[in-house]
Amino acid sequence: MRCRITRARLVAAWTWNANDDLCGICRLPFDGTCNACKTPGDDCPLALGECRHAFHLHCILKWLSSETSRNHCPLCRQEWQFQQR
């Protein structure tokens, strides 16, 4: 049997590949944005550490720039290193 497709409606979905649904710092979903942003996706990316913990990039940068952080991961307290992908 042959059929001809005359019309198709394509739908795409994306999600960040994190081990968690929420960013531990702002408590907002990874697939949304951090508090400071409005457009999800590349404008508000995810940051993954060597310790495999994920946060919004903007959130982890704010934490690392605060004195309290001592450059530690907020979850496991290991030294924070951005994972090179």
């Binding site: 710092i25 408590r27 944005t33 400071a36 409005k38 903007h58 720039s65 309290t68 530690h72 907020p74």
Partner: protein, 204 residues
């Protein structure tokens, strides 16, 4: 004074009022910066204030959900960053007592811990007579993934299990280790002096 339940009622029934309030505070704090205008890694005071307000709202809601029996009071309804949590341990040295802890949440929250003072300081290794609280997660061990719920649990743990190894009141810590009976007697005496209702208290 406003209890948590009333605060939540006010939120649900006076929806219009509340959203006005939120809108006006967000205008004060300025709307969140546009992604294009934001330089990554350089937090502006306005963006920090915005984050702190939003996180605090979420934390207060979580606190109401996980511990609805908890007494939470807002001395000033227009300022949710200052509130008083009342804890009453169900067992241990301080059973039957009520402890009020005053929280002040800074604009740098959750990157800096809230300031917490105990308004009902007693004989305790980790509390001093001025209300200072010695709890590691309120100081050097603070991390932004902690919430108000973690802090309330930490404070409750401090009341259940005083930690003589990290003492603020060295005399109390020493007494707790050397002579627990005298420690309990001193707590009881202090409580009687302050005319607390202490009917339920019994030595652990």
């Amino acid at each position: 004074m406003l209890r948590l339940a009333e605060w939540k009622d006010a939120q649900t029934t006076d929806d219009a009022d509340k959203s006005d309030e939120v809108r006006s505070t967000s205008q004060l704090a300025s709307t969140p910066p546009q992604p294009s205008s934001q330089v990554a890694g350089v937090p502006t005071p306005a963006s920090l204030r915005w984050l702190s307000q939003q996180r605090l709202q979420q934390d207060l809601t979580e606190l109401g959900v996980t511990a609805p029996e908890l007494e939470l009071q807002f001395p000033d309804l227009s300022d949710i960053s200052r509130f008083i949590v009342t804890l009453s341990p169900a067992e241990g040295w301080y059973k039957g007592l009520c402890f009020r802890f005053a929280f002040t949440v800074l604009e740098t929250y959750p990157f800096e811990p809230p300031l917490v003072r105990c308004l009902d300081a007693v004989w305790h290794p980790n509390l001093d007579e001025h209300g200072a609280v010695c709890l590691s997660i309120l100081r050097e061990d603070w991390r932004p993934v902690y919430t108000l719920v973690s802090l309330v649990q930490g404070l409750l743990h401090l009341l259940l299990e005083p930690n003589p190894n990290d003492a603020l009141n060295a005399a109390a810590a020493e007494m707790l280790v050397q002579d627990p009976a005298a420690f309990q007697a001193r707590v009881h005496q202090q409580v009687r002096e302050r005319q607390y209702h202490f009917e339920n208290a019994a030595p652990p």
